[in-house]
Amino acid sequence: MDVSRTQRIFEQHPDKGVIMTSLDTVFNWARARSFWPMTFGLACCAIEMMSAGGSRYDTARFGYELFRASPRQADVMIVAGTITKKMQPLIERLYDQMPEPKWVVAMGSCAISGGPFTDSYSVVLGADTFLPVDVYIPGCPPRPEALIYGMLMLKEKVENPKKFAKLVQVKRNA
């Protein structure tokens, strides 16, 4: 296969060299502006998530209005609420059912680290014990503006993937 012509083009126009990157940029630009969250309100943070989707603290103006109930059609899973041990295998199954590319936002202190129920016999100490979390939104519950700020932070992360490297070191128990 003769690659000399392509090589000459890359040498003459060094800024055009990485054509695949610019396609990635276009895709990332489109993905960041239309996250479709999956409805995953488990506890009180769900109320704040619903309120953020309402008309006062609108998420629709950013493009995130379609909350999909099915994981097959969703991009981002906003884990809003306390994760109990009984719920954990179901969350794993739903996360596995989401198609790539997918992101996880841990909303509220229960999803970050167990929150006020850290000493409980039935609470999992945070979503990042079994899921790769991209954005953490602290609060109990975080205000809708804080959730919107977290989604904008996720948007920044998706648009600049090299700047925010994604850690995929998660121990998944079978």
């Binding site: 041990k85 009984k86 850290t118 000493d119 409980s120 016999y121 039935s122 609470v123 999992v124 100490l125």
Partner: protein, 151 residues
Amino acid sequence: MPENREQIVTELNAKLGNCVSLSEDTTNEYILVEPNKLVEVATELRENPSFKFDMVINLASIDYPENYTLVYHLLSTTFVRQIALKVQLPKDRPEVPSIAEVFKSTNVQEREAYDLMGINFVGHPNMKRILLPDDFIGHPLRKDFKMEAGA
């Protein structure tokens, strides 16, 4: 409808043999029932047309130092009256016959008492844990539960 607990106690004792008695403490008034006669007492309270207690609205389990106690609250929707039954179980063998066949609402309430306090309900049709994962070890609401199986 009998006006007070003494009449209920007298009538139940007359019909079923000596198995219930009055009981009270500083806050509440109960009827103390022998554990092995619980099913008959519950059936009688439901069937008797002058009592007509047709709902169990609460089943609480308490871990005292000397015994386990179960408290059943029954409601009569025809007469709008409530009554509380108390059953005391020994600490080493907390077993009581299940009244899930008599009152349908106790099906899930007895599963909760089993799950969290470890009371054994003999004859329950579906004795499984209801709030905790099925492979959880221990009964968390007992006073001597020490988070061995927890995080």
